[in-house]
Symmetry: C2
Subunit: 385 residues, 2 copies
């Protein structure tokens, strides 16, 4: 199989798994226990916290472990919202459901939630953000890199605007971490969500960066782990793996990114050149290095996926996180895409292990599969397939 769905999940790096194994075998202590087993587990958790902090230039004390990107986003939104009842919360219309669904809930609870529009590239205009800020705005949450079309938002423009007005800024950086250089201090970010399994670490673990000085209410209460901000026995093995994945991501950052970019640009050009009536979506320049989002007019994306799968290629139509419900992408809708354009969309997302041969093979198969599907398309007459 050629795996081109790295935005959905990635393969755990072998070095990462090797670091996890002792904590799945003999090092099974509870980090809260006083004895040797407990102390070793505690030490491992703190080492990982530092590895995660280092990736984004944070302090260890600013890293909160969660069960993943979704919980990080929920913790940021609910955690801040509880502190500022009935305030205005501003987000964008192209966020992941892990932002949009909590926002909808907060709206029902009386918060004034604003969903900023985007342009055809999926970009939020800082001027529009500025116009929507009010005195009672508590939080702005705009994603770093979009999970469907790959567009990278002008985060520093947003943080500057927020800083001037003392408004807290959160970003869902689940897709951007390890792909875009992120220095939370330089960028002036207050809260940032990370997921382990998007950067070749294990699933079920993530983090929320909380800048020193920002106070949140916990979502999950109990034994008081994570300084009382997230209770529950720490997922030690996955935390250790997550830490190692962050370290590898930091150390190999430029190598990884340049490799992914090269492959991305190669396959993008080849597809545009060899397949008719295809468009590349998202911003052509400021985009994630591993994302290729395409529209094949006259083709149903679902059919395309199934055909690709039959031919040994794992891809996606958009977000994998919307549990097999076939709903039209809200991201593409917000970007002004027609129903037909949305239907014909395909997302290819690269990982660190992909290679040129796979790119060539993918284009070959894609060419055949698209032609096959178009030959029976009801839109056949409309286009010059």
């Amino acid at each position: 199989m050629i795996y081109l769905d790295n935005a959905a999940s990635t393969k755990i790096n072998e070095t990462v798994l090797a670091e996890m194994i002792p904590f799945l075998k003999e090092q099974y202590g509870n980090p809260s226990s006083i004895h040797r087993y407990g102390r070793l587990a505690h030490k491992a958790v703190e080492k990982a916290r530092k590895q995660i902090a280092d990736l984004i230039n944070a302090d260890s004390s600013e890293i909160l472990f969660t069960s993943g990107g979704t919980e990080s986003n929920n913790t940021a939104l609910f955690g801040i919202a509880k502190k500022y009842p009935q305030s205005r919360i501003i987000t964008s219309s192209i966020e992941h459901d892990a932002i949009l669904e909590p926002c909808k809930k907060l709206e029902k609870e009386g918060f004034d939630v604003i969903y900023l529009p985007v342009n055809k590239y999926g970009l939020v205009d800082p001027l529009i953000l500025k116009k929507n800020l009010t005195k009672d705005t508590s939080l702005v949450s705009i994603m770093f890199g979009n999970n469907e079309v790959g567009t990278v938002e002008p985060i520093i423009d947003f943080t500057k605007i927020c800083k001037d007005r003392n408004i807290i800024f959160h970003t869902d950086a689940v897709q951007a971490v390890g792909k875009i250089p992120i220095n939370v201090k330089e960028l002036g970010i207050d809260l940032l969500s990370i997921s382990s399994h998007k950067i070749h670490g294990p699933k079920g673990i993530g983090a929320l960066y909380i800048r020193k000085g920002i106070s949140i209410d916990p979502v999950i209460l109990g034994g008081g782990q994570e300084n009382g901000l997230r209770s529950g026995t720490e997922n030690v093995s996955n935390i250790v793996g997550f830490g190692k994945a962050c370290e590898l991501s930091r150390v190999n950052f430029f190598k990884n990114v340049s490799k992914m970019k090269e492959l991305r640009d190669y396959i993008s050009k080849k597809i545009i050149l060899e397949i008719p009536e295809v468009t590349l979506n998202g911003h052509p320049e400021t985009r994630l290095p591993n994302n290729i989002h395409l529209t094949f007019l006259g083709v149903n994306g679902e059919d395309l996926l199934i055909k690709l799968d039959e031919n040994g290629i794992a891809a996606s139509t958009g977000s994998a996180c919307s549990v097999q419900i076939q709903k039209a992408s809200h991201v593409l809708q917000a970007m002004g895409f027609s129903h037909e354009q949305i239907t014909g969309s395909l997302r290819l997302t690269l990982g660190i292990s992909n290679n040129l041969e796979e790119m060539n093979k993918t284009v070959e198969i894609l060419k055949n599969v698209v032609a096959e599907l178009r030959s029976v398309s009801p839109f056949k007459e409309k286009y010059s397939f």
Copy 2:
């Protein structure tokens, strides 16, 4: 090391880890993805769901995956509370903090929370529960087996009382699962919390049994996984391990329990016989098969733990989940223990791998360590050490 802190965390069973490995290596798909990787991951999650359901005689559709026992408890309490604003919620005074802390939060939000007292054995009296039920009582949450002293509560008496009045009954069964036979249908339980790492499965994964017909509000929102009740990419490898741990727990139930009971009774008797001024706490009969909770008068439990650790024994003073904060046990306080009794307490909790030789060695070391500490105790004159 002799590991006698299995109530804090357990060693992952080798067979469990073997089942997890493929999902930490080549089977890295996101269960929501349509392609082969996704389908395999999805299938594995559903297989595990059945294994968990089978352990407690539930249907697969009644099992909700969470990040652990704490999240399960939070989901039960907040999930029901949201449905019945300002109602009465009844719990006990010896619950884990993962119940007590959410209850305190709900109290602040206007819920009428009642903390039932216990007798000297840690038992909640069903008659007292009955007396506290009102027309606006929405939920009763009483733990199955106590994590500190091991007392097992008369769950069926509670569920009968609740059923008559249409009140939802939840139990935190984190310590009881795999140790006490649990048939949710026979027992008439509506909601039940399970944790994987207490039964020789991995950390960071748990489940909430939700009886068909019971409706809860989700705590974590997003992509709509787990039928919209718990969003976030599934922790596939840990879910698979958790499933296998439940299967092993079911298959080897009587073997495991009788072995633990035998060792527990052996070491309990030996300690009582060979060490002066020691009491066995919790209920003498209806108790978890792996729990031994003791008070050594004139000894400081913390000192005892450190000495035991130095001598190669991993034990606990009580709950491991209260993050190294040295606060007096609320469980022992509720049972009417004096400060001195609380201070001198020690918890030994057995796992499936402990053996007789370890028990003998533990008593030998305990005897010496207790004598050593007592020789410098300020209470020396008070007792006949």
